[in-house]
Subunit: 264 residues, 6 copies
């Protein structure tokens, strides 16, 4: 089994730049897998793919030489195990609010005696490593999402979960439950202090701290704060903003009667 | 039937900015349909979708309030008719090299007596217009691709085809057959003269002249030359370039050990 | 966000006629969406679609100008949230037997502080409303199914759940657990009294009362009883009965040797 | 190989009632296959399915105990052969306008020396008959569509094609090319005379005469005229009309404020 | 409803040979359904199919004249009910470790008053039996997987669950939790004693004992031990081993420069 | 672009063992791609996949480190070009009966000036080689199928087609048209002489000679005869025969009442 790249980068003190997939297609997945992302997450919580779409996307990410992970929609051990069997190399679990929830999540991703994952890595044994059974507990990554006020109250206990590798901040949900407002890339002091506490506690427990961001500038700010796993936007956001930018640029120089806007 | 937006824009002397779809997904299609594109083409010639993927993409483009067209893979009247029945509002036919080929293409998109399209607009009658049968010959657009040396020799005859609405330049193929080199957004004088001739002949026949471009700057240059239907890149190109740009921007400011590149 | 049509109709004292989808296809969904149904429910409990089929069906229903809702297969918050993110405007949850179950269900459909729905309306923000985050708690509908003897014992408590909009009777299951027999459109007095009690309690709590029916006649009877959300059959039932009727009518007038039945 | 039911019914002087599939789903296909249709046609010319959807629909029709055929989109021998290999028991070819076209069509459906079908009945050998190779030329049905003025001029020559089993009238296209108007179930005398001629010529050549109809009444009229293969509407039409009828019936008896129509 | 073949074979003292499906395709499913397997299980725990793929596979297995069952990924009543509604004739539930879990599993597969399955056998009523509602509780099979040390401690209590039909050994997981090693077809004495105890306890409770095996030899050994439901490998294993065998055999006789291995 | 492995093996005098795919699944494709096959052909002529299934299968074959080719259903330049754009590294064209047909086929696979392939290698440029445009004409393989009496009459002329790389014998069709009987692995002398002539003519034109076989023994015989590209069976055949063998072996040792056969 190839050593998990995310673990390597983090251990050397680097930062993982992670891509985020909402489009259910093996082609968009392969395009991004061949870019300079350190890892890619198929978002089955807020993305547009069911399991039948996600499975070949895991293949496509590996085909592109990249590292596939999945954010699952909920605390569903059956789905977590299944995605690992298909070849995901890490699971991000949303809404981990208590230490018990965290232990249940991590246990679903670890073979006994460390957990209760069922044995049957159908594709992983073929496509990841012949020795998968003995390497998986070490190489598969578990990310618990910290995104509620309750999770913040239980932060130390969650971070102390044996076998947990990383925590991942969902900034929109976290701010919504703490301060009653959503939003991403928020600069407000109180919120930044929350993030700093998360990084501090994560480091105390030797966990990678991760967060979702919406711009290069905020990503750099988060790196400076100590986050070592940074997601930038999503495939859909990138597509929309690239489209919007080139259309604006092209229309700006257009003489004569303009397009769509004016006519309808 | 809503008046065809492309015809309207062109008649008022404006320019259509057209998006290009290679990703087989209703989500990426809807994202782009909700952007400021005047029309969108599902590219079944060089794209990654079969018919089972293309059909719901036509639905998704209309859902996003945009105008769906399809580039077919070849001179296949059955496929052209079928995509029109599903609700495409125009067909781009590749490699139209002779007037006979052009007449066969246009005929496939027109009901008798103007052509030989078979009657059965299953979805179009429901989703486009109750009066579709009587409006289709007027509103459906036909784009013949001019992309070979042979087509250039037959340019006037092709453009004189009754019922043809537009010609569309495939610059890569055209340059390859004329000058032995591919490439897009080419500035070479001899090639620009070819494009100028195409625009001139198209206008003489009251046809819309269209072309595929790879940048806002070249698109503006083509508008200035008289092209009124301009495609910009493709969804896959936009996704890759947006991804590449934000990764470079983010990495540029990163201190400490770097990511992927350095470690492997 | 467009005001939820179901709420509007009910508030004005009208009755919603609701269609029911079992066929996994964007085409049958769009056909029905363009009919005179007030809303359409994709039935992921007893229907033939997985999530990969259901997602483009939500798009197709909106394309047809109709209001998409989903019945989920079970009390699964992750799936409920996800379908809302895709653009469903309401969730019907089966087998809500206790007030606690009801609160868990409603909470999954409401953003904090009213519930625990995770923030990430990927498609809803693009396709329903830019202001989705602030409108969703008010506009998204929650239907708790009353379909067991246990639910009847807890009826008042279930109906008192804050944030619940409606209850929905599954008559087959309800009769099976109350009287040991299934069946739809049942005229038996004891069962009708149960339905009357449900309507009464629903109205006391300002909830919409809904029910599944199998004929226009029974639907009218239920309207007269006070139900304001009436489902009629399903797409599969409609297709089978229309097919059966036209075949019988056609064969009835056939002279000479008959078809299938006689020959085999 | 089971003797082809269509041939049997026709030989005994009976009439085949045929269903027509536009919805790309194995569930709607199986529902109809379990009804009293004598055969079912997957319409790949004006329907919403590509090949990936059509293949499991052929399985579903056989599962329902019915006889699957396909109307192909155009004169494409590769597609005809492929659908036969999958298990279709007949092909309807559109727009057969000349005897040469008819011979090319029939040849694609017959193994040498009668035709040029390529040998490789992958699923048919497994699912239809172990002896498929020797039975197929006899049991597979070929329907040439007569639907243009040109086809009418060549009617005798087309009907004389060796190996042709049936002709099938596309009434919309036929009337459009003959009289400049579309329409189905047309009562106009001149058109009925055309149909009578077609039946007469078909019978002279021992061919089954088939036609598409839109109602039981017209179907009966066509039977009386001698057509022995009658299609009634399509799955989409049946679904829409059943939906429309039950909605109208239900709304008609509704008291109090009405639904959708009045409120918006 | 056809009497459940598995029950029949077991009651007569025979052994069921069961096939196992990991490939998401209706074609591989139909191929195996037409072989001499007594039943086929779609493995949604470790296989490559989501629900959208599994549904037409259930159709394909019935089409091939075989008996479809499903192993679900986890204790998810909604998914179990749904697969039964589609036409699965049995459910294998993984990781049944306590009597309570077993009762919850069995209850999801039984209509009231025996369980809490929701009424709505959409396809089963059409495709399995018109009288499905009254036959299902008797004919649908429930298999609880015994595959952990905890399950072994609770073996008698699990086997005493009313309505349970069978237990099924997952030998890899069972050995992993009991002895710290995985593996299949294990000959080690201590493990064989575990299996013997399972068979003994199952028989005491009139349950069918089942197990997964990896070879004909071990399958025979298990039959001799009293197992009456034996799975042999999976479709993927069979495909890989047949491919490997014929390649080795062919290459063995090859003269001249060899293939792949030597050149790269 | 990696040098085409098939060309390398053949040039060194070795033999390519080729696998054949009929099952529409990325999982079965990846399983076989990770076996010791030198190349794999997706059979779109007699297989069960449409284009939407074939595209991710091409990705899966490359993921498994193998070389993907496609047999197209017919002489359809648009489809050939498209599969090459997706990443197929060779095309097998069925029923090449004349030199003109062969030239049209080869031309569709070659960029100008050698042919008329349209420029747009969307995935190939990303996934195969950045320099694809300049390498494709050299590396993409063209296989013309020799499988009719007419092709045998034109054998020398077909083999003389500039740019053709290989011929591929379809033994079933060839024998059917030559001797009126189908069959594979045929030992009849007259047929073997035909094969010998094919190899001889191919070698005279520096073409690779290929053939489809049904067993290791016949494959070895064909190698000895000079064929350098040998297909063995198909995925479906391998699956069925492996299943049949293990069932027979297991049942053979079974005591007591037997399975399926006896009970029904």
């Amino acid at each position: 089994m190839f050593p998990n790249r995310i673990k390597q980068i983090a251990q050397e003190g680097g930062t993982v730049l992670n891509g985020w997939l909402h489009i259910p297609s093996t082609w968009s997945a392969e395009i991004l897998a061949r870019q300079d992302w350190d890892s890619l997450v198929i978002d089955m919580q807020h993305g547009m793919m069911g399991l039948d779409s996600a499975i070949p996307m895991i293949q496509a990410i590996q085909l592109g030489g990249n590292l596939p992970m999945v954010r699952v929609p909920w605390h569903d051990p059956g789905l977590m195990m299944r995605l690992l069997d298909v070849g995901a190399l890490g699971i991000i679990c949303p809404m981990v609010n208590t230490a018990d929830q965290c232990a249940a999540f991590v246990g679903a991703c670890r073979y006994p005696p460390l957990g209760y994952r069922s044995l049957g890595p159908t594709r992983a044994r073929v496509a990841i490593s012949e020795n998968y059974l003995h390497e998986a507990n070490e190489q598969i990554l578990t990310f618990a999402m910290i995104e509620t006020a309750q999770a913040m109250r239980n932060l130390e206990a969650i971070c102390a979960t044996p076998g947990l590798d990383a925590i991942y901040v969902g900034p929109g949900d976290l701010r919504l439950t703490l301060f009653g407002k959503g939003g991403i890339d928020v600069e407000e002091e109180a919120f930044l202090e929350v993030l700093e506490r998360i990084v501090r506690v994560a480091k105390q427990h030797q966990l990678i701290a991760g967060i979702h961001t919406g711009s290069a500038a905020y990503a750099q700010k988060m790196m400076a704060m100590g986050f070592q796993f940074i997601t930038l936007l999503s495939d859909g956001n990138l597509l929309a903003s690239a489209s919007s930018a080139i259309l604006a640029e092209t229309r700006s120089g257009k003489s004569g009667p303009a397009g769509k806007g004016q006519i309808y």
